[in-house]
């Protein structure tokens, strides 16, 4: 079914979505093709099906032959016979003003109950977003949690010696280029309101931190001090940015106001201190330091104070990412064989799990509902982006067939 998405819609085939693994509890759901979908610019029901499947919390029920819309009265015995617990159907109608009226309905098959629906009128350019919003609504109704399908991701591609900072939907599709450059771009970071991206650009032949407004393209330098400026990260309360500066020698953590003022040094070591990220309450930083010899992950209060070591497995642990509830820490470890592996630590118990079987994992980033992690890795001789559930059970490959992809970072709720 996922392969059909790629074959039947070549214009969207820049990314092919492959899903692997077996999830714990998955709810079987049937999402029928929407009435008149075949005449619309986007395969709305396919987008919804792929979103739900990628979450790891749903399995897809065969809908072949079903002709339903939101006004139908489903044949319950038929759907129970197909082992569906839930059913969704809808329609897409072109309006006189050129927009599209998208409607859907969700049913509990087991109880034979209408769970509600929605209608959205959107321009053609927002049809994918409409599909993702429907998937979010279905997800929230059935799981009680907020869906992330309408969120966006930022990542960097490198092709033919040129670099692009791209923004896509959370399924990897609908990509737009925020910045194109002949010089490297690294470390993109979303502002909490999702309107800006901070990143490091080498266009001035050194590492400089920029902040760019996504809808207008207006950009400003956040940090261009002597030496290198890198690893920007916004505080969740939107007030501050932590970054790594070498303006006083070495690589040390500094915090500044979001507009670049009030620069304050946080670490005072002769070591490398970098890759800082805030806890959800904006009061603590997790960061990488090699003050003990090799790089390990530490935490310290933003207000100042002693740092406490957090990782103890092996000699090389980097790229910390915190779940939105503050309970899990994802990071990259280099194992004894020199392989780079994605790990997830339960912070309360300290238990660490390696959750991939690839060997060159990089840069994990949590979805804003904390249920998925996106990361970069290498497969089939190419850089690829993957999403995974926190236990590694369900993985989805967002595969670029044209360029190397790296540095994925998951955007916040609400566009």
């Amino acid at each position: 079914m996922v392969a059909a998405l790629a074959c039947s819609a070549p214009v969207w085939a820049q990314f092919r979505i492959e899903i692997s693994g077996v999830g714990g509890t998955q709810m079987p759901i049937a999402v029928a093709e929407f009435r008149d979908e075949v005449d619309s610019p986007q395969p709305v029901s396919s987008i919804i099906r792929a979103d739900l499947e990628r979450s790891g919390q749903f399995s897809l029920v065969n809908v072949a032959g079903a002709q339903l819309s939101e006004t139908s009265l489903p044949a319950w015995s038929d759907w129970r016979g197909r082992n569906a617990d839930a059913l969704a159907a809808g329609s897409i109608t072109r309006l006189a003003d050129g927009r599209f009226d998208v409607r859907f309905k969700l049913w509990d098959v087991v109880k034979g109950q209408d769970l509600g629906g929605e209608s959205l009128a959107v321009p053609a350019d927002d049809l994918r977003l409409a599909a993702h919003r429907i998937a979010d609504k279905i997800y929230q109704t059935l799981t009680g949690e907020r869906g992330v399908f309408a969120t966006r991701m930022a990542y960097v591609t490198k092709a033919g010696g040129r670099y692009s900072l791209r923004i896509t939907d959370a399924d990897g599709e609908g990509g737009q280029v925020a910045l194109a450059s002949p010089e490297p771009i690294i470390s993109p970071a979303w502002s909490p309101d999702g309107r800006e991206l901070a990143y490091v650009s080498f266009e001035r032949h050194k590492a400089v931190v920029w902040v760019q407004d996504l809808s207008s393209g207006r950009r400003r330098v956040l940090a261009d001090f002597r030496g290198s400026n890198s690893a920007p990260s916004f505080s969740p309360d939107g007030q501050s940015v932590v970054l790594t500066l070498s303006r006083e020698g070495g690589s040390q953590l500094f915090v500044m106001d979001r507009n670049g003022g009030n620069v304050r040094r946080l670490t005072q070591t002769q070591a490398i201190d970098t890759e800082a990220t805030f806890t959800p309450d904006s009061r603590t930083l997790y960061f990488v330091s090699d003050r003990g010899g090799g790089p390990q992950i530490y935490r310290m209060p933003v207000a100042g104070g002693a740092a406490e070591r957090v990782t103890f497995n092996g000699t090389y642990n980097i790229s910390p990412a915190l779940s939105p509830d503050g309970r899990s820490l994802a990071f990259i470890t280099r194992d004894g064989g020199g392989n780079f592996k994605l790990c997830v630590m339960d912070l309360a118990s300290g238990n660490v799990q390696q959750i991939t079987d690839t060997t060159r994992d990089e840069k994990p980033s949590f979805a804003p509902n904390g249920r998925l992690i996106v990361y970069a890795t290498r497969a089939g001789g190419r850089d690829v982006l993957m999403t995974t559930t926190l236990d590694g059970g369900i993985k989805a490959k967002l595969l670029s067939t044209q360029a190397d992809v790296r540095e994925p970072t998951w955007g916040p709720f609400g566009r």
Binding site: P184, I186, S187, F202, H205, K206, A207, R226, G227, S228, S230, A231, T244, S246, G249, G250, S251, I272, T274, E275, V288, P295, Y316, I318, S319, I332, R334, G338, F340, E362, K363, R406, E407
Partner: protein, 178 residues
Amino acid sequence: MKMHNMFAALLALGLLAACSSTPLGEKAPVEDKLAQPASSSLGAKAATGAASESKVQTVDLGAQLSSAVANQRVVYFDFDSFAVKDEYRSLLDAHAKRLSFDRKIHLSLEGHTDERGGREYNLALGQKRAEAVAQALGVLGVQASQIEPVSFGKEQPAVEGHDEAAWAKNRRVELKDK
């Protein structure tokens, strides 16, 4: 009386000699009185005995110092190391002389790592290498305002490749005129 005439004659000769040179108001053409061999080295002049009396050999200190650092623009590092090896002492010396001679010259010291490891951590490692070279130049008297240590981490390898031969060529600091 005779002396007077002789003097007058000499004077006349001098005037005649003067007349044979460029008339007043025209610029005197610059020319070698004698043809010079192409190399015009001191040895050749001595051998031919045809050295020019007018030629002045220019010594351009700036150019000499710059040519002393041509092809001397990269310092390589061992794996996991930031130590500037002894073999680069003369390279650093040449750069220090040039920088001290002309305070208007500024260098970017661009630090790099091989491809192994995380991007931000490697950016910091490259910075450490650049600062090691900066410190070595500082010890030789170079002013900090003339050099800026920066890093490209693993983002700009000199050599693409996934073996030690390539990695060794990527662990480096490049000294570049700004």
